[in-house]
């Protein structure tokens, strides 16, 4: 065997020793396994490093230096692997006496805004960006604001006592937020740009989709030169803001005494197949303008109304309107 050949073999064995030792230390998962690895490789009596050191003596003198240098490198690597393994298993041991970090935190409970309030807030926010300020009005109304000024004559079926909540003095709980439109126009000259919001009351039989009290938001814009094109444009902007970019809007003819032309507003979004009715709208009827002292030959305007419950239920997948008024904390906690 040549001198060179025996050195090469010896160095190869040192490399293998290092690789095997590092693997073993890294695999050790407990203090016992680390100790066993230490005894195997670094043990003072039977350790494999010790054996490698003794091999030095059997090598020719001219290669001892080269072997010794490599041996020192291997020794340092094994000691480092041992230290690292020991530190690793000791950390675990500390943790066992510490906290269970996977336990849930101690969370302060946040309350929740009512989903109807959240929906109303979002609508107010969107229409605010279009320049519509919020208007409010009384819930107990006179028939002038709820009917007369809205072009609903005394013989109109909408005034039937069966379909309204009248009080004994002839006033009533408003059946629509359009009353607020009248009050706003009575109190200021045009131009007008408001959203009226609030509770309204109709004696519907209560079921999963009907309540005798619910909430409406109604927009009103009056100025010179306001057209149905503006109405459609505003509603399309609203649809985009509320439902997303991919949305279409269409008008279907309808009938409301206080607007003419009157339309139902349908929307279609996210590639849906079914048009969904979102609310009613129309151009303010000239008789309404006359009732509030506006000149219908000078100004035009549009109005639209949306049911907040319906938008809220659709938004959050709520299938029973009664949940909104039960105020079960298990329900409120979901919003």
């Amino acid at each position: 065997m040549s001198t060179t050949g025996s050195l090469e073999t010896a160095l190869l064995e040192l490399d293998e020793l290092q690789a095997g030792a590092v693997r073993t230390f890294e695999a050790a998962a407990s203090p016992d396994e680390v100790e066993a690895a230490r005894v195997e490789y670094l043990g003072q009596k039977q350790g494999r490093l010790k054996a490698a050191q003794e091999r030095l003596r059997s090598l020719p003198n001219e290669v001892k230096k080269a072997y010794g240098q490599r041996f020192n490198g291997v020794k340092q690597a094994l000691e480092a692997a041992f230290d690292s393994a020991r530190a690793r298993v000791e950390r675990r041991a500390v943790a066992a006496g510490g906290i269970d970090v996977t336990l849930p935190g101690i969370a302060p409970r946040l309350g929740h805004r009512h989903p109807l309030a959240q929906t109303a807030d979002e609508l107010i926010d969107i229409f605010g960006r279009f320049g519509f300020a919020v208007a409010r009005g009384p819930e107990v109304e006179d028939v002038r604001h709820n009917f007369d000024a809205l072009n609903i004559p005394p013989v109109h079926p909408a005034r039937d006592p069966l379909d309204n909540f009248y009080l004994s003095d002839g006033t009533m709980l408003r059946s629509q937020t359009s009353t607020i439109q009248v009050r706003v126009m009575e109190s200021q000259p045009p131009p007008v740009r408001v959203v009226a919001i609030g509770r309204v009351y109709r004696p519907d039989t209560v079921d999963a989709t009907h309540s005798f009290m619910f909430h409406q938001i109604e927009g009103l814009m009056v100025d010179e030169g306001v057209t149905m094109g503006h109405l459609k444009s505003i509603l399309r902007l609203f649809a985009k803001s509320y439902l997303g970019e991919d949305v279409q809007i269409r008008f279907r003819p309808s009938f409301f005494p206080f607007t003419e032309p009157s339309v139902e507003v349908d929307m279609l979004w996210h590639g849906g197949r079914r048009w969904v009715e979102m609310g009613g709208a129309g151009m303010v009827d000239p008789n309404v303008f006359k009732a509030v002292g506006y000149d219908p030959e000078r100004v035009t305007g549009f109005a639209f109304g949306l049911g907040i419950e319906r938008l809220c239920m659709r938004r959050h997948g709520i299938d029973d309107i009664r949940l909104l008024y039960q105020n079960d904390v298990r329900f409120l906690d979901q919003f």
Binding site: G128, A133, L162, F165, L173, M228, G229, P253
Partner: protein, 673 residues
């Protein structure tokens, strides 16, 4: 309103798929509810808005289709052959209540053989959802659903005196209707009577005694118009609704009655070949005012719709709808509306007709809207801050009904509690008919609901109006309130209110004054004041009240005037400089009579602690031990600081000494050993 596909083809050619037709109708004003296959025919259910009573018959819908598709409309001529003596030989009609019956027509037929209708008639009625009865009755129903005019056929021989009188009911009169039920009539109800008794509720339902039966041979056909309000009132008062009353409640074509009568006779002749229609008609009609022509200024179309419509198209649409052009210039069209469109009276009505037939899809949706500033109003900002402050403290927002049962309608205070709440009168709300004067009872009911579903401590708030009646006949006051209900004790809830006020940056000091309030336990309730204005009330709910509400767990509640919060809240915070010199804090424990309140103690401390005193911070109260049952020890911390230099210990000692002396002098306090 159900239309039959097969029947529509009698009047207009249908060469389009049914889906295309219903889509087109929906987009022009007749909303499509459903289409159902009925043994080879299609029953198409359309929603007719209250202004379009012309579409309460098959012909009205056919007319819409003819306009939309530019197809001719074919109507039955309704010109039956007549024979024998004139109608006057068989019957007489007098209208005593002409204000409620603008027109009443009668035709007489003899030799009628009542039997089953032929197959085609039964089939048609089946599509419309109408049960076939007998040939004569089926024809009256068929014609009503054809043209919208309700009709009634009497057994002429059963009419006492062979005459009909249109009058109001007399006291005590009753009528058994063809549904077999007996109705007590009231004097304001319009009836059709014979010489002796009522034989029909005008416009609502005929009477059983005079109905067409198997033995009927002579028939009187009624086609009339009645006052819509009168029909509606009678129908609602008796809870009796019929396809006839539904139509009479709406404006009908004043001209269609005679056509309908002739059409009925024509079909009875067809179904009973041996029958004879006697010449003439008894037609009692009040003169009707001619309808005014309508002028449509063409410039109004773009002014309202925002798009131009070609004047040729405008004229085509109006004429197709049955409007007669009286005059036309390049700026305006003057038209006379058809009798079946009572809803067309004004220029704007015509603009709507042009818009819906021309198509709303042609209205542009890219009009720029001028910018306008609409910052969030004060109410929205402050309400939002209130919601933030309360939800951050773990409270959930509730929305409860304003109409409540009496137990939930009482005000928080004893003031006005004896007066009744405002009430609505409606049969659907016999119990829950009061407008509430406080939100707190509703929130207690919410807590009970949650308790029964396993949530023992629902901490909730609501923002809503309450309704306070006024003496002067004006609309009630509707102050907006904020109410809070939570479990636990007074001070816990007071802390929630204090945190809320801090969040609203309210500078006026909150003070609480003991108060006796019906909802709250004695000695555990207070009025809350901001400066010298009352903010509201709070307290621990009285045990008896809790029992009434079936509450298992202790509860505190507060109700605050939201208007005052809106007024006092600041929406923009103002910075004050941070202190440059350190503060010195000294604790004191003073033994005092139990009657001395913290507010009294704090006031004495503040007035006597000198210029470097900043605040007194309450820590706790000790009672019992060797203090006896008259005394208490109050433990608090005082903070001293100057803005120009560091305080010395001696200065603070002097201030504390002055405080102790003042408390001793004014409150009889001693330092706790």
């Amino acid at each position: 309103m159900i239309v039959s596909w097969n029947q529509l083809t009698d009047y207009v050619r249908l060469d389009m798929p049914v889906e295309a037709l219903t889509e087109r109708l929906a987009l022009t004003g007749l909303n499509h509810e459903s289409t159902e296959d009925v043994g080879g025919d299609l029953a198409i259910d359309l929603e007719v808005t209250s202004n379009r009573s012309d579409c309460l018959g098959q012909i009205g819908v056919a007319r819409e289709i003819s306009v939309l598709y530019g197809k001719p409309l074919r109507l039955p001529a309704a010109s039956p052959r007549t024979a024998g003596e004139p109608v006057e030989a068989f019957a007489a009609v007098s209208v005593e209540a002409a204000d409620l019956c603008p027109r009443f027509t009668a035709r007489a037929m003899t030799g009628v053989k009542v039997g089953e209708s032929p197959w085609w008639m039964r089939k048609r009625l089946e599509t419309l959802g109408v049960r076939p009865v007998s040939n004569v009755v089926d024809v009256t129903n068929y014609v009503m659903f054809e043209c919208g005019q309700p009709l009634h056929a009497y057994d002429l021989d059963k009419l006492e005196g062979r005459r009909l009188v249109v009058r109001k009911a007399r006291p005590g009169e009753k009528l058994t209707a063809i549904n077999g039920k007996e109705y007590d009539l009231r004097p304001e109800m319009l009836v059709i009577a014979d010489a002796a008794r009522p034989v029909g509720l005008a416009g609502v339902m005929g009477g059983l005694d005079t109905e067409i039966g198997p033995g009927t041979t002579n028939v009187l056909i009624e086609a009339a118009r009645f006052d819509p309000m009168s029909v509606r009132k009678t129908s609602r008062a008796l809870g009796l609704f019929s396809p006839s009353s539904f139509r009479f409640e709406r404006p009908l074509d004043p001209e269609v009655a005679d056509w309908a009568s002739r059409r009925t006779a024509e079909l009875i002749l067809e179904l009973c070949p041996g029958a004879v229609l006697h010449p003439g008609v008894i037609d009692v009609a009040s003169p009707t005012a001619p309808r005014e022509p309508i002028v449509l200024r063409l410039a109004q179309i773009p002014r309202v719709l925002g798009i131009e419509v070609d004047p040729v198209e405008v004229r085509r649409i109006l004429e197709a709808l049955g409007l007669r052009v009286l005059d036309e210039t390049d700026r305006a069209i003057k038209v006379a509306p058809p009798t079946w469109r009572a809803d067309l009276e004004r220029e704007i009505d015509l603009i709507e007709e042009v818009a819906r037939i021309h198509g709303y899809e042609k209205i542009v949706e890219d009009r720029p809207i001028p910018v306008a500033s609409a910052p969030r109003g004060r109410r929205e900002r402050v309400e939002s801050a209130v919601r933030d402050a309360l939800t951050a403290q773990g409270l959930d927002e509730a929305v409860t009904f304003s109409l409540v049962e009496d137990a939930l309608a009482a005000p928080v205070t004893a003031e006005g509690a004896d007066a009744p709440p405002l009430r609505v009168s409606h049969s659907s709300r016999r119990r829950e008919n009061a407008l509430r004067r406080s939100l707190v009872p509703s929130l207690l009911a919410v807590r009970r609901h949650n308790e029964s579903y396993g949530v023992a401590d629902a901490r909730i708030f609501e923002i809503a109006d309450v309704y306070i009646p006024r003496e002067d006949g004006a609309l009630p006051d509707e102050p907006a309130r904020l109410a809070i209900a939570a479990g636990g004790e007074f001070l816990g809830l007071k802390g929630v209110v204090e945190t809320l006020l801090r969040r609203l940056l309210i500078v006026e000091p909150l003070s609480a004054r003991p108060a006796g309030l019906p909802l709250f336990a004695a000695g555990r309730a207070a009025e809350l004041w901001l400066g010298d204005v009352r903010l509201g009330w709070m307290g621990e709910v009285d045990a008896e009240v809790a029992r009434k509400f079936e509450l298992r767990n202790a509860c505190s509640a507060a109700e605050l005037d939201l208007g005052l919060l809106l007024e006092k809240a600041r929406t923009i915070a103002q910075y004050s400089p941070l202190p440059s010199y350190p503060a010195v804090v000294r604790d004191l424990s003073l033994v005092l009579d139990r009657s001395v309140t913290w507010a009294e103690l704090e006031a004495v401390v503040r007035e006597n602690a000198g210029g470097s005193f900043r605040e007194a911070h309450y820590l706790d109260t000790f009672r019992g031990g060797n203090l006896g049952d008259q005394k208490q020890s109050v433990h608090f911390a005082m903070t001293f600081r100057r803005d120009d230099r560091t305080l010395t210990g001696e200065e603070v000692d002097e201030a504390v000494k002055a405080v102790v002396e003042a408390c001793s002098r004014k409150l009889g306090a001693t330092l706790r050993a």
